[in-house]
Subunit: 443 residues, 2 copies
């Protein structure tokens, strides 16, 4: 995917780098990305976006046009401009694989690089990781709420700009969605595409049945009729009446979609009408302002729904549209560093996360330790880039999706609930606590 | 700004267009974009994004690569592919100017074009208008909450992808913010840029005062020190102690920034310390998870704060991360159309919004009418594009910002409040009600 360029950053990054260069502050820095606290409506998070971060780092260079624009702004001296013109990312990346379940205070990604490089990438790195993780974590709740059902991302129009729509399609597919309506996400990421019809199609014809038949003739494969433009029950009867004509043309009606009204009631009535007309194999899809709570309650009510189109609640993570995440300097020039700002103090140094499991393979508690410690459990952060080059080929999105599904299967039952509850057990290793005590400001 | 291409759309648009073409449904369609209901935490909305919509329409064409990808997908026939390959937007656009205040049920933009064109642009048109309007409307609340204060967008990292960061910078500047930290938004939109320093800069030095002095030497203009990395009060004293050295070097300290802690208390203490050290002209900026309620309460408490850096609450519109907006077919082939779905019924036909004012120039009630009606008041929708060409040159962002400020000045006092309250008076004209009664489905 094309990168929007390296001016997609905060001005202060450039200001700081100029000062770093002036004062020889180009030693090795270690930054970590983590989430300080989970939103009350999230029991766990699902890591996503690493692939785009690595693409960003590989492609990291300032174009002559960008350097020229910075020069003519009059803000910066030749030392900075020359540095930027020759800059490539030369550092190391350690990260949890995409699809990993993680929790508050656990580093998901660690950058080890000369300070100006590690600093300059901050804004876009957070911008990519935060949003995809936000959406994958929201999508995972929907996947857990509707096991075995088809979930499709319909959210591009209400996503926050174009890239949000693309990233949301990717992150939700990673988390277990079946696909997306966003065509470009299919092209860029190989995600299965789904699409039916809009109310405007039905409205553009003088007669609803005429509209449905016209659509069926042109788009006979994977045919899904939208049936709530005027009166859903009446439309369901029209669909049954149309079926002989469809069958005569060799067209099978794959499904109907209902986008408004009392979906539990309507799905039941429509199921009855379809079954009564011999359309037992025709599936029912619903959409319209759905979130995971509604998915769970509709299914608990026994609504005969086969799939859900989900938009706004997914792509904006409506109930928690941001995570309290940070990318913080943990070590510089070989010394651990610690920010002490009230409510925002950090654990210093390079860290690792180790996860323990019950005998039947469920997650049973994590330990955040210094990177050179050896607590029990599986180490979650792995090297993925060194010297600015990938250590392993890009992981296919389908593989990351399978990994995410395996991760969700390892969640303790309690964390699979949509309701708030006790947090998962994350311990800080003694050696890390000692390091934090020892790391005074400026020491 | 570069467009991400016309595959940034929903699959169903392409499906429907294939069916429209097959069935000769290429007559003139009228679609309108509007918001069904305001979020409870919004008293009005501020229109934004028209400029990017017009750029999108002007640039609307499928590349050979896009056509090739659609062809190899096997989903579409030659008729659709040939149509798309030659497609340009040829229609008319009527719209409220950017920066216009508007309310629920009021069309903000009207597209009049051959049905396949008007349909195909839907997804990206909503994607642009919805988000910029969402952010401009949120930003306007902050502007009203902190009159005369400097407000700066710090949100790129938590914005939902790169385009969201850029659009949020633009929409908040339009609504009255002073500028943004996002460098690329400065380049693309000419928005003033602001930037200070991060905690990592301070942490990378062994001593806080040393870090501040190093920064001042490299970046002496518009110098702002971040002072909460370890202990804000102690840092304020260090700043005073540093000032003689700064003055000796001819450097004036423009401001200090506090990013954590009890900001009201700290701003007061820091103000006292700075004034005591002769730094009366040094301004105080605060940041850190701020929203408009906190702005209002900090200022009401008399905190001596000169400016605010605002991130997540702004760029995600955290308390209302989406609007209930729609782009609906209102007329096709000369006949008004009306969707009747429960809770989503629309007012049919081409419409206009007329606004009335009190003698002192405050907004005093709107009337939504058919476009050919002549209710009293100022007509808000104006022609901006015809035959796919702009009727007027692009409006400079600074002019739209001035227009938005004039609009906010015309709000009734009650609507300027952050608290919920009675909705603004929007009447539906009798002639429109009659048209709605008359417009049966399919009639």
């Amino acid at each position: 995917m094309e990168q929007p360029g390296n001016l997609l950053t905060d001005l202060y990054q450039l200001n700081m780098i100029e000062a770093y260069l002036d004062h020889g502050q180009t030693g090795t820095a270690v930054f970590e990305f983590f989430v300080r606290d989970l939103p009350p409506v999230r029991r766990f998070l699902l890591a996503a976006g690493l692939q785009q971060v690595l693409e960003f780092l590989e492609a990291f260079r300032f174009s002559p046009d960008e350097i020229g624009w910075l020069a003519q702004s009059g803000r910066f001296g030749a030392r900075l401009l020359d540095y930027l013109a020759g800059l490539r990312f030369s550092g190391e990346v350690h990260a949890m694989p995409e699809g990993s379940v993680f929790f508050a205070d656990e580093p998901v990604l660690r950058i080890t690089a000369p300070l100006p490089e590690a600093q300059l990438i901050e804004t876009r790195l957070i911008n990519i990781l935060h949003f995809q993780t936000l959406i994958a974590s929201k999508a995972a709740r929907m996947v857990l709420a509707a096991p075995g059902k088809q979930l499709v991302d319909f959210g591009l129009r209400r996503a926050h700009g174009g890239e949000a729509g693309l990233f949301a399609a990717r992150a939700s597919y990673l988390a277990g969605f079946s696909g997306t309506a966003t065509v470009l996400a299919g092209k860029l990421f190989g995600i299965p595409l789904f699409g039916t019809m809009a109310h405007s199609f039905v409205q553009a014809f003088d007669d609803e049945a005429e509209a449905l038949l016209a659509f069926a003739q042109s788009r006979p494969d994977h045919l899904v009729f939208l049936i709530d433009t005027y009166d859903t029950i009446a439309a369901a009867h029209k669909v049954v009446a149309l079926n002989a004509e469809l069958a005569a043309r060799g067209i099978r009606l794959a499904g109907v979609r209902i986008d408004s009204g009392d979906l539990v009631h309507l799905a039941g009535e429509v199921r009855r009408i379809l079954d009564g007309g011999g359309l037992n194999a025709t599936q029912i899809f619903v959409s319209g302002g759905l979130d995971e709570e509604q998915l769970a309650s509709m299914l608990a009510a026994g609504a005969p729904i086969d799939g859900f189109g989900i938009g706004t609640a997914l792509v904006t993570s409506f109930d928690a549209p941001a995570l309290d995440c940070a990318y913080k300097l943990q070590e510089y020039a070989g010394k651990p560093r610690r920010k002490l700002s009230p409510g925002k103090a950090t654990w210093p140094g390079r860290k690792q996360v180790s996860r323990n499991f019950t005998p039947d393979g469920r997650m049973a508690g994590d330990i955040v330790s210094t990177a050179d410690d050896t607590p029990p459990g599986e180490a979650l952060l792995r090297p993925v880039m060194s010297g600015g080059k990938r250590l392993i080929p890009p992981v296919p999105l389908h593989d990351s999706r399978a990994f995410a599904a395996a991760q969700l299967a390892k969640l303790p039952d309690d964390l699979r609930s949509l309701a708030p509850g006790a947090p998962y057990d994350v311990q800080i290793a003694d050696k890390l606590k000692q390091l934090a005590d020892f790391t005074q400001k400026g020491s």
